[in-house]
Amino acid sequence: MNFNFRTSVLSATAVLSATAALSTTAALSATSALSATAAHFPTLASTFKAGLLLVVLTIGPGCLAATLNLTLTDQHGTPVEDAVMYVRSIDGSIPPSSPMQVDVDQIDEAFVPHVRAATAGSLVNFPNSDHVRHHVYSFSKAKTFEVPLYSGVPSAPTLFDQAGLVTLGCNIHDHMLGYILILDTPYFSEIRAGKGSIATLPAGELVVEIWHPRLLDAGVITQLLQATADAELNLELQVTLRPERMVRRAPRRSGSRY
Protein backbone atom coordinates (compact mmCIF):
# COMPACT_ATOMS: atom_id res chain seq x y z
CA MET A 1 0.00 0.00 0.00
CA ASN A 2 1.60 3.22 -1.12
CA PHE A 3 0.90 6.32 0.81
CA ASN A 4 2.72 9.20 2.38
CA PHE A 5 1.67 10.92 5.47
CA ARG A 6 2.61 13.56 7.88
CA THR A 7 1.21 13.85 11.27
CA SER A 8 1.29 16.62 13.69
CA VAL A 9 -0.01 16.32 17.14
CA LEU A 10 -1.01 19.56 18.66
CA SER A 11 -1.20 20.26 22.24
CA ALA A 12 -4.32 21.20 24.05
CA THR A 13 -4.72 24.89 24.10
CA ALA A 14 -7.02 27.27 25.67
CA VAL A 15 -9.91 24.97 25.06
CA LEU A 16 -9.10 23.18 28.28
CA SER A 17 -12.50 23.30 29.66
CA ALA A 18 -14.11 25.20 32.36
CA THR A 19 -14.17 22.03 34.37
CA ALA A 20 -10.47 22.20 34.82
CA ALA A 21 -10.02 24.34 37.85
CA LEU A 22 -6.35 23.87 37.40
CA SER A 23 -5.90 26.43 34.73
CA THR A 24 -2.52 26.02 33.38
CA THR A 25 -3.26 26.87 29.81
CA ALA A 26 -0.18 28.93 29.56
CA ALA A 27 1.92 25.86 30.09
CA LEU A 28 -0.16 23.95 27.59
CA SER A 29 0.29 26.33 24.79
CA ALA A 30 0.35 25.39 21.20
CA THR A 31 4.08 25.30 21.19
CA SER A 32 4.27 21.99 22.93
CA ALA A 33 3.45 18.92 20.97
CA LEU A 34 2.03 16.12 23.02
CA SER A 35 3.15 12.88 21.66
CA ALA A 36 3.92 10.28 24.20
CA THR A 37 3.20 7.84 21.50
CA ALA A 38 6.37 8.65 19.65
CA ALA A 39 8.25 6.02 21.57
CA HIS A 40 5.68 3.35 20.80
CA PHE A 41 4.47 4.21 17.33
CA PRO A 42 7.29 5.09 14.98
CA THR A 43 4.79 6.23 12.38
CA LEU A 44 4.33 9.49 14.23
CA ALA A 45 6.84 12.17 13.53
CA SER A 46 6.54 13.96 16.79
CA THR A 47 9.51 14.21 19.06
CA PHE A 48 8.25 16.39 21.83
CA LYS A 49 7.63 14.71 25.09
CA ALA A 50 8.47 17.41 27.52
CA GLY A 51 4.98 18.72 27.73
CA LEU A 52 3.27 15.44 28.39
CA LEU A 53 3.94 15.07 32.04
CA LEU A 54 2.91 18.61 32.58
CA VAL A 55 -0.36 17.94 30.88
CA VAL A 56 -1.01 14.89 32.99
CA LEU A 57 -0.39 16.82 36.13
CA THR A 58 -2.46 19.73 35.20
CA ILE A 59 -5.54 18.17 33.73
CA GLY A 60 -7.73 17.03 36.48
CA PRO A 61 -10.67 14.72 36.59
CA GLY A 62 -13.48 15.43 34.17
CA CYS A 63 -10.99 15.78 31.39
CA LEU A 64 -12.36 16.53 27.98
CA ALA A 65 -12.57 14.33 24.92
CA ALA A 66 -10.08 14.33 22.08
CA THR A 67 -10.79 15.23 18.50
CA LEU A 68 -9.35 13.49 15.48
CA ASN A 69 -9.22 15.46 12.24
CA LEU A 70 -8.32 13.79 8.95
CA THR A 71 -7.17 15.39 5.72
CA LEU A 72 -7.15 12.83 2.93
CA THR A 73 -5.82 13.30 -0.59
CA ASP A 74 -5.18 10.90 -3.44
CA GLN A 75 -2.05 10.33 -5.46
CA HIS A 76 -2.81 13.41 -7.54
CA GLY A 77 -3.26 15.64 -4.53
CA THR A 78 -7.03 15.75 -5.02
CA PRO A 79 -9.15 15.74 -1.86
CA VAL A 80 -10.73 12.34 -1.50
CA GLU A 81 -14.47 11.92 -1.50
CA ASP A 82 -16.45 8.91 -0.25
CA ALA A 83 -14.07 7.54 2.36
CA VAL A 84 -14.91 6.54 5.91
CA MET A 85 -12.70 6.99 8.96
CA TYR A 86 -13.57 5.07 12.12
CA VAL A 87 -12.04 4.06 15.42
CA ARG A 88 -11.95 0.31 15.64
CA SER A 89 -10.84 0.19 19.26
CA ILE A 90 -9.71 2.31 22.17
CA ASP A 91 -7.32 0.52 24.47
CA GLY A 92 -8.49 -2.74 22.93
CA SER A 93 -12.21 -2.29 23.28
CA ILE A 94 -15.00 -0.17 21.89
CA PRO A 95 -18.14 1.12 23.57
CA PRO A 96 -21.51 0.16 22.11
CA SER A 97 -22.99 2.35 19.43
CA SER A 98 -26.50 3.67 19.01
CA PRO A 99 -28.55 2.98 15.90
CA MET A 100 -29.24 5.80 13.45
CA GLN A 101 -31.54 6.54 10.55
CA VAL A 102 -29.85 7.61 7.33
CA ASP A 103 -30.73 8.03 3.67
CA VAL A 104 -29.13 6.82 0.46
CA ASP A 105 -30.79 8.67 -2.40
CA GLN A 106 -30.83 7.92 -6.11
CA ILE A 107 -30.13 10.94 -8.28
CA ASP A 108 -29.20 10.94 -11.96
CA GLU A 109 -28.90 7.14 -11.92
CA ALA A 110 -26.35 7.14 -9.11
CA PHE A 111 -26.47 6.40 -5.40
CA VAL A 112 -26.02 9.59 -3.42
CA PRO A 113 -23.92 9.56 -1.41
CA HIS A 114 -21.82 6.94 -3.13
CA VAL A 115 -20.60 5.80 0.31
CA ARG A 116 -22.63 5.97 3.51
CA ALA A 117 -21.55 4.96 7.01
CA ALA A 118 -23.89 3.97 9.79
CA THR A 119 -23.88 1.94 12.98
CA ALA A 120 -25.15 -1.60 13.31
CA GLY A 121 -28.84 -1.63 13.97
CA SER A 122 -29.47 1.47 11.90
CA LEU A 123 -32.33 2.04 9.51
CA VAL A 124 -31.48 3.10 5.96
CA ASN A 125 -34.01 4.67 3.67
CA PHE A 126 -33.63 4.68 -0.13
CA PRO A 127 -35.58 7.60 -1.52
CA ASN A 128 -35.65 7.71 -5.32
CA SER A 129 -35.28 11.28 -6.54
CA ASP A 130 -34.84 10.19 -10.14
CA HIS A 131 -37.39 10.47 -12.92
CA VAL A 132 -37.02 6.71 -13.54
CA ARG A 133 -37.75 3.82 -11.26
CA HIS A 134 -35.00 1.83 -9.60
CA HIS A 135 -34.70 -1.62 -8.05
CA VAL A 136 -32.17 -1.51 -5.23
CA TYR A 137 -30.55 -4.74 -4.08
CA SER A 138 -27.54 -6.22 -2.36
CA PHE A 139 -26.09 -9.71 -2.10
CA SER A 140 -23.56 -8.73 0.57
CA LYS A 141 -23.08 -11.02 3.53
CA ALA A 142 -23.72 -8.19 5.96
CA LYS A 143 -27.12 -7.55 4.40
CA THR A 144 -28.91 -9.25 1.53
CA PHE A 145 -32.05 -7.40 0.53
CA GLU A 146 -33.96 -5.82 -2.28
CA VAL A 147 -36.32 -2.91 -2.68
CA PRO A 148 -38.34 -3.92 -5.74
CA LEU A 149 -38.96 -1.50 -8.59
CA TYR A 150 -40.22 1.75 -7.15
CA SER A 151 -40.30 5.49 -7.42
CA GLY A 152 -40.47 8.05 -4.66
CA VAL A 153 -39.86 6.92 -1.09
CA PRO A 154 -40.19 3.26 -0.07
CA SER A 155 -42.87 2.52 2.48
CA ALA A 156 -40.36 1.46 5.12
CA PRO A 157 -36.62 1.81 5.67
CA THR A 158 -34.36 -1.23 5.70
CA LEU A 159 -32.72 -2.44 8.89
CA PHE A 160 -28.97 -3.10 8.76
CA ASP A 161 -28.26 -5.08 11.88
CA GLN A 162 -24.85 -6.56 11.11
CA ALA A 163 -21.53 -4.79 10.85
CA GLY A 164 -19.80 -5.10 7.50
CA LEU A 165 -19.65 -3.72 4.00
CA VAL A 166 -22.86 -3.69 1.97
CA THR A 167 -22.52 -3.20 -1.77
CA LEU A 168 -25.58 -1.72 -3.46
CA GLY A 169 -26.73 -2.20 -7.01
CA CYS A 170 -29.72 -1.38 -9.17
CA ASN A 171 -31.26 -4.24 -11.09
CA ILE A 172 -32.34 -1.86 -13.85
CA HIS A 173 -29.16 0.17 -14.21
CA ASP A 174 -26.16 -2.10 -13.94
CA HIS A 175 -23.76 0.82 -13.75
CA MET A 176 -25.20 2.00 -10.43
CA LEU A 177 -22.95 1.13 -7.53
CA GLY A 178 -23.02 2.28 -3.94
CA TYR A 179 -21.71 1.24 -0.55
CA ILE A 180 -22.96 1.27 3.00
CA LEU A 181 -20.35 0.61 5.67
CA ILE A 182 -22.07 -0.67 8.78
CA LEU A 183 -19.87 -0.17 11.82
CA ASP A 184 -19.86 -1.44 15.38
CA THR A 185 -18.23 1.70 16.73
CA PRO A 186 -19.84 5.00 17.61
CA TYR A 187 -16.72 6.87 16.52
CA PHE A 188 -16.68 7.38 12.78
CA SER A 189 -16.79 10.07 10.16
CA GLU A 190 -17.61 10.17 6.48
CA ILE A 191 -14.89 11.94 4.54
CA ARG A 192 -16.19 14.66 2.24
CA ALA A 193 -14.00 16.93 0.15
CA GLY A 194 -10.99 15.32 1.79
CA LYS A 195 -12.00 16.24 5.33
CA GLY A 196 -13.45 14.32 8.24
CA SER A 197 -13.52 14.71 11.98
CA ILE A 198 -14.37 12.55 14.98
CA ALA A 199 -15.01 14.42 18.19
CA THR A 200 -15.65 13.30 21.77
CA LEU A 201 -13.00 10.60 21.65
CA PRO A 202 -11.92 9.28 25.02
CA ALA A 203 -8.24 9.17 25.81
CA GLY A 204 -6.35 6.03 25.04
CA GLU A 205 -4.63 4.08 22.35
CA LEU A 206 -6.71 4.42 19.19
CA VAL A 207 -6.78 2.00 16.31
CA VAL A 208 -8.07 4.13 13.46
CA GLU A 209 -9.03 2.71 10.11
CA ILE A 210 -9.77 4.48 6.84
CA TRP A 211 -11.71 2.76 4.07
CA HIS A 212 -12.43 3.79 0.49
CA PRO A 213 -13.99 1.60 -2.22
CA ARG A 214 -11.16 2.32 -4.65
CA LEU A 215 -8.20 1.88 -2.35
CA LEU A 216 -5.51 0.28 -4.46
CA ASP A 217 -5.14 -2.83 -2.36
CA ALA A 218 -8.86 -3.07 -1.60
CA GLY A 219 -8.23 -2.99 2.12
CA VAL A 220 -8.17 -0.43 4.86
CA ILE A 221 -5.49 1.92 6.07
CA THR A 222 -4.74 1.47 9.74
CA GLN A 223 -3.25 4.10 12.00
CA LEU A 224 -2.31 3.74 15.65
CA LEU A 225 -2.67 6.92 17.61
CA GLN A 226 -2.44 7.93 21.20
CA ALA A 227 -5.12 10.33 22.27
CA THR A 228 -4.81 12.23 25.45
CA ALA A 229 -7.71 14.01 26.97
CA ASP A 230 -8.66 17.10 25.09
CA ALA A 231 -6.03 16.47 22.47
CA GLU A 232 -6.62 17.56 18.90
CA LEU A 233 -5.07 15.05 16.59
CA ASN A 234 -4.56 16.14 13.00
CA LEU A 235 -3.85 13.36 10.56
CA GLU A 236 -2.86 14.00 6.94
CA LEU A 237 -2.75 11.05 4.60
CA GLN A 238 -2.22 10.54 0.90
CA VAL A 239 -3.59 7.36 -0.63
CA THR A 240 -3.48 5.71 -4.02
CA LEU A 241 -6.89 5.10 -5.55
CA ARG A 242 -7.89 3.10 -8.60
CA PRO A 243 -9.50 5.19 -11.36
CA GLU A 244 -13.25 5.63 -11.21
CA ARG A 245 -15.08 2.93 -13.12
CA MET A 246 -16.91 4.67 -15.95
CA VAL A 247 -17.28 1.82 -18.44
CA ARG A 248 -20.71 0.70 -17.40
CA ARG A 249 -22.21 4.17 -17.14
CA ALA A 250 -20.89 5.69 -20.39
CA PRO A 251 -23.33 5.78 -23.33
CA ARG A 252 -23.20 3.19 -26.10
CA ARG A 253 -23.84 3.54 -29.81
CA SER A 254 -26.96 1.47 -29.42
CA GLY A 255 -28.28 4.15 -27.08
CA SER A 256 -28.24 1.90 -24.07
CA ARG A 257 -26.36 2.56 -20.86
CA TYR A 258 -27.32 -0.63 -19.13
Binding site: G169, P243, P251, R253
Partner: protein
Protein backbone atom coordinates in the same frame (compact mmCIF):
# COMPACT_ATOMS: atom_id res chain seq x y z
CA UNK B 1 -26.44 11.69 -49.69
CA UNK B 2 -27.63 13.87 -46.86
CA UNK B 3 -30.54 12.34 -45.07
CA UNK B 4 -32.99 12.92 -42.29
CA UNK B 5 -34.43 10.07 -40.31
CA UNK B 6 -37.36 10.33 -37.92
CA UNK B 7 -39.01 7.44 -36.23
CA UNK B 8 -40.59 5.76 -33.30
CA UNK B 9 -39.38 2.83 -31.36
CA UNK B 10 -40.34 0.72 -28.42
CA UNK B 11 -38.12 -1.50 -26.35
CA UNK B 12 -39.23 -4.10 -23.86
CA UNK B 13 -36.63 -5.52 -21.53
CA UNK B 14 -37.02 -8.42 -19.14
CA UNK B 15 -34.35 -9.47 -16.71
CA UNK B 16 -34.48 -12.98 -15.36
CA UNK B 17 -33.60 -12.25 -11.76
CA UNK B 18 -31.56 -9.81 -9.73
CA UNK B 19 -27.95 -8.94 -10.33
CA UNK B 20 -25.75 -7.94 -13.21
CA UNK B 21 -25.13 -11.55 -14.34
CA UNK B 22 -28.78 -12.39 -14.90
CA UNK B 23 -29.76 -12.87 -18.57
CA UNK B 24 -31.81 -10.14 -20.17
CA UNK B 25 -34.37 -10.54 -22.94
CA UNK B 26 -34.81 -7.54 -25.24
CA UNK B 27 -37.60 -6.93 -27.74
CA UNK B 28 -37.29 -3.93 -30.02
CA UNK B 29 -39.78 -2.62 -32.54
CA UNK B 30 -39.26 0.44 -34.66
CA UNK B 31 -40.39 2.40 -37.67
CA UNK B 32 -38.39 5.14 -39.34
CA UNK B 33 -39.07 7.55 -42.16
CA UNK B 34 -35.93 8.20 -44.11
CA UNK B 35 -35.67 11.26 -46.36
CA UNK B 36 -32.67 11.85 -48.60
CA UNK B 37 -31.74 14.86 -50.63
CA UNK B 38 -31.82 12.36 -53.53
CA UNK B 39 -35.45 11.37 -53.22
CA UNK B 40 -35.18 7.98 -54.93
CA UNK B 41 -33.86 6.60 -51.64
CA UNK B 42 -36.74 7.78 -49.49
CA UNK B 43 -38.31 4.90 -47.61
CA UNK B 44 -40.18 3.76 -44.52
CA UNK B 45 -38.14 1.20 -42.64
CA UNK B 46 -39.67 -1.24 -40.16
CA UNK B 47 -37.54 -3.25 -37.76
CA UNK B 48 -38.23 -5.93 -35.19
CA UNK B 49 -35.59 -7.60 -33.07
CA UNK B 50 -35.29 -10.07 -30.25
CA UNK B 51 -32.08 -10.68 -28.32
CA UNK B 52 -30.78 -12.33 -25.19
CA UNK B 53 -27.77 -10.91 -23.41
CA UNK B 54 -25.84 -12.07 -20.39
CA UNK B 55 -22.87 -10.77 -18.44
CA UNK B 56 -20.56 -13.71 -17.79
CA UNK B 57 -17.84 -11.90 -15.86
CA UNK B 58 -17.57 -8.33 -14.60
CA UNK B 59 -15.76 -7.54 -17.86
CA UNK B 60 -17.51 -9.71 -20.46
CA UNK B 61 -21.03 -9.57 -21.82
CA UNK B 62 -22.38 -11.54 -24.79
CA UNK B 63 -25.64 -11.30 -26.64
CA UNK B 64 -27.39 -13.35 -29.29
CA UNK B 65 -30.11 -11.89 -31.41
CA UNK B 66 -32.32 -12.08 -34.43
CA UNK B 67 -33.95 -9.22 -36.28
CA UNK B 68 -36.05 -8.53 -39.31
CA UNK B 69 -35.94 -5.40 -41.41
CA UNK B 70 -38.35 -4.31 -44.09
CA UNK B 71 -38.11 -1.20 -46.20
CA UNK B 72 -40.94 0.28 -48.22
CA UNK B 73 -39.45 2.68 -50.73
CA UNK B 74 -41.30 5.57 -52.31
CA UNK B 75 -39.64 5.23 -55.70
CA UNK B 76 -41.20 3.07 -58.40
CA UNK B 77 -39.77 4.15 -61.71
CA UNK B 78 -37.42 1.49 -62.95
CA UNK B 79 -35.07 1.17 -65.86
CA UNK B 80 -36.53 0.77 -69.31
CA UNK B 81 -35.48 -2.10 -71.50
CA UNK B 82 -32.16 -1.39 -73.25
CA UNK B 83 -30.85 -3.76 -75.86
CA UNK B 84 -30.45 -7.11 -74.26
CA UNK B 85 -31.22 -5.71 -70.86
CA UNK B 86 -34.82 -6.18 -69.81
CA UNK B 87 -36.95 -3.55 -68.17
CA UNK B 88 -36.81 -3.67 -64.42
CA UNK B 89 -39.03 -2.68 -61.54
CA UNK B 90 -37.90 0.51 -59.84
CA UNK B 91 -38.67 -0.70 -56.32
CA UNK B 92 -35.02 -0.93 -55.37
CA UNK B 93 -35.58 0.21 -51.81
CA UNK B 94 -38.43 -2.20 -51.21
CA UNK B 95 -36.40 -4.85 -49.50
CA UNK B 96 -36.40 -7.17 -46.52
CA UNK B 97 -33.82 -9.18 -44.64
CA UNK B 98 -33.31 -11.38 -41.60
CA UNK B 99 -30.20 -11.01 -39.49
CA UNK B 100 -28.67 -13.25 -36.85
CA UNK B 101 -26.07 -11.64 -34.64
CA UNK B 102 -23.59 -12.54 -31.95
CA UNK B 103 -22.14 -9.58 -30.09
CA UNK B 104 -19.65 -9.20 -27.30
CA UNK B 105 -18.54 -6.38 -25.05
CA UNK B 106 -15.26 -6.62 -23.16
CA UNK B 107 -14.14 -4.09 -20.56
CA UNK B 108 -10.44 -3.35 -20.92
CA UNK B 109 -10.16 -1.14 -17.83
CA UNK B 110 -12.23 1.34 -15.88
CA UNK B 111 -12.69 3.66 -18.85
CA UNK B 112 -12.51 1.69 -22.10
CA UNK B 113 -14.05 -1.34 -23.70
CA UNK B 114 -14.21 -3.28 -26.96
CA UNK B 115 -17.30 -4.17 -28.97
CA UNK B 116 -17.19 -6.99 -31.46
CA UNK B 117 -20.00 -8.41 -33.53
CA UNK B 118 -20.57 -11.11 -36.08
CA UNK B 119 -23.75 -10.86 -38.12
CA UNK B 120 -25.25 -13.10 -40.75
CA UNK B 121 -27.78 -11.36 -42.95
CA UNK B 122 -30.10 -13.20 -45.31
CA UNK B 123 -31.96 -10.86 -47.59
CA UNK B 124 -31.77 -8.10 -50.11
CA UNK B 125 -28.79 -5.85 -50.59
CA UNK B 126 -28.64 -2.65 -52.64
CA UNK B 127 -25.60 -1.73 -54.65
CA UNK B 128 -24.84 1.05 -57.13
CA UNK B 129 -22.77 0.78 -60.28
CA UNK B 130 -22.17 2.78 -63.40
CA UNK B 131 -23.13 0.02 -65.81
CA UNK B 132 -25.95 -2.38 -66.32
CA UNK B 133 -23.75 -5.28 -65.27
CA UNK B 134 -25.56 -5.99 -62.09
CA UNK B 135 -28.90 -5.36 -63.66
CA UNK B 136 -29.14 -8.81 -65.19
CA UNK B 137 -29.42 -10.54 -61.86
CA UNK B 138 -31.15 -7.74 -60.02
CA UNK B 139 -34.63 -7.88 -58.60
CA UNK B 140 -35.12 -4.15 -59.26
CA UNK B 141 -33.05 -1.34 -60.79
CA UNK B 142 -33.28 2.43 -61.09
CA UNK B 143 -31.10 5.41 -61.81
CA UNK B 144 -29.23 6.59 -58.73
CA UNK B 145 -28.35 10.31 -59.09
CA UNK B 146 -26.48 10.26 -55.80
CA UNK B 147 -23.55 8.68 -57.66
CA UNK B 148 -23.82 10.53 -60.95
CA UNK B 149 -26.00 10.70 -64.01
CA UNK B 150 -25.23 7.19 -65.25
CA UNK B 151 -25.19 5.41 -61.92
CA UNK B 152 -27.66 2.60 -61.47
CA UNK B 153 -28.82 1.22 -58.14
CA UNK B 154 -30.00 -2.36 -58.08
CA UNK B 155 -31.34 -4.78 -55.52
CA UNK B 156 -30.06 -8.31 -55.23
CA UNK B 157 -30.86 -11.28 -53.07
CA UNK B 158 -27.77 -12.12 -51.04
CA UNK B 159 -26.21 -13.64 -47.96
CA UNK B 160 -23.94 -11.26 -46.08
CA UNK B 161 -21.48 -11.67 -43.25
CA UNK B 162 -20.66 -8.53 -41.32
CA UNK B 163 -17.71 -8.28 -38.92
CA UNK B 164 -17.35 -5.27 -36.67
CA UNK B 165 -14.87 -4.22 -34.03
CA UNK B 166 -15.03 -0.97 -32.10
CA UNK B 167 -12.87 0.55 -29.41
CA UNK B 168 -14.77 2.77 -26.97
CA UNK B 169 -13.46 5.15 -24.38
CA UNK B 170 -15.53 6.89 -21.71
CA UNK B 171 -14.43 10.51 -21.66
CA UNK B 172 -16.69 11.59 -18.80
CA UNK B 173 -19.63 9.95 -17.12
CA UNK B 174 -21.98 10.81 -19.98
CA UNK B 175 -19.70 10.90 -23.01
CA UNK B 176 -18.00 8.28 -25.10
CA UNK B 177 -15.56 8.37 -28.00
CA UNK B 178 -15.40 5.36 -30.29
CA UNK B 179 -13.45 4.22 -33.31
CA UNK B 180 -13.89 1.06 -35.25
CA UNK B 181 -14.06 -0.89 -38.43
CA UNK B 182 -16.65 -2.95 -40.25
CA UNK B 183 -16.10 -5.48 -42.99
CA UNK B 184 -18.91 -6.89 -45.09
CA UNK B 185 -18.79 -9.72 -47.54
CA UNK B 186 -21.82 -10.69 -49.59
CA UNK B 187 -22.61 -13.38 -52.11
CA UNK B 188 -25.72 -12.91 -54.19
CA UNK B 189 -27.94 -15.76 -55.35
CA UNK B 190 -26.61 -15.13 -58.84
CA UNK B 191 -23.01 -15.69 -57.72
CA UNK B 192 -21.82 -12.07 -57.56
CA UNK B 193 -19.51 -11.29 -54.62
CA UNK B 194 -19.36 -7.95 -52.90
CA UNK B 195 -16.91 -6.79 -50.27
CA UNK B 196 -16.90 -3.54 -48.38
CA UNK B 197 -14.90 -2.04 -45.56
CA UNK B 198 -15.87 0.86 -43.35
CA UNK B 199 -13.84 2.84 -40.85
CA UNK B 200 -15.72 4.99 -38.39
CA UNK B 201 -15.22 7.21 -35.40
CA UNK B 202 -17.64 9.24 -33.37
CA UNK B 203 -18.55 10.93 -30.14
CA UNK B 204 -21.66 10.30 -28.06
CA UNK B 205 -23.00 12.48 -25.30
CA UNK B 206 -26.03 11.46 -23.28
CA UNK B 207 -28.17 14.00 -21.51
Amino acid sequence: MNSLKAGLGIQLRHKFGIGETMPVLNLQLGVDQQHYNIAVRDADVYTAGLSVSKRFTPALQLSLGASHERSDGDHEQGLPAFGMWPAKSGKVWDYSAWTLSLQGELDLNEASWLNAALQYRDGDVVSTGITYAGNVASLASTYDPAFGLHAVAYRLDARTQIYTLDYNRALWRSSTWYAGAEYQTSRTSSGIDYKAGILRTGFIHAF
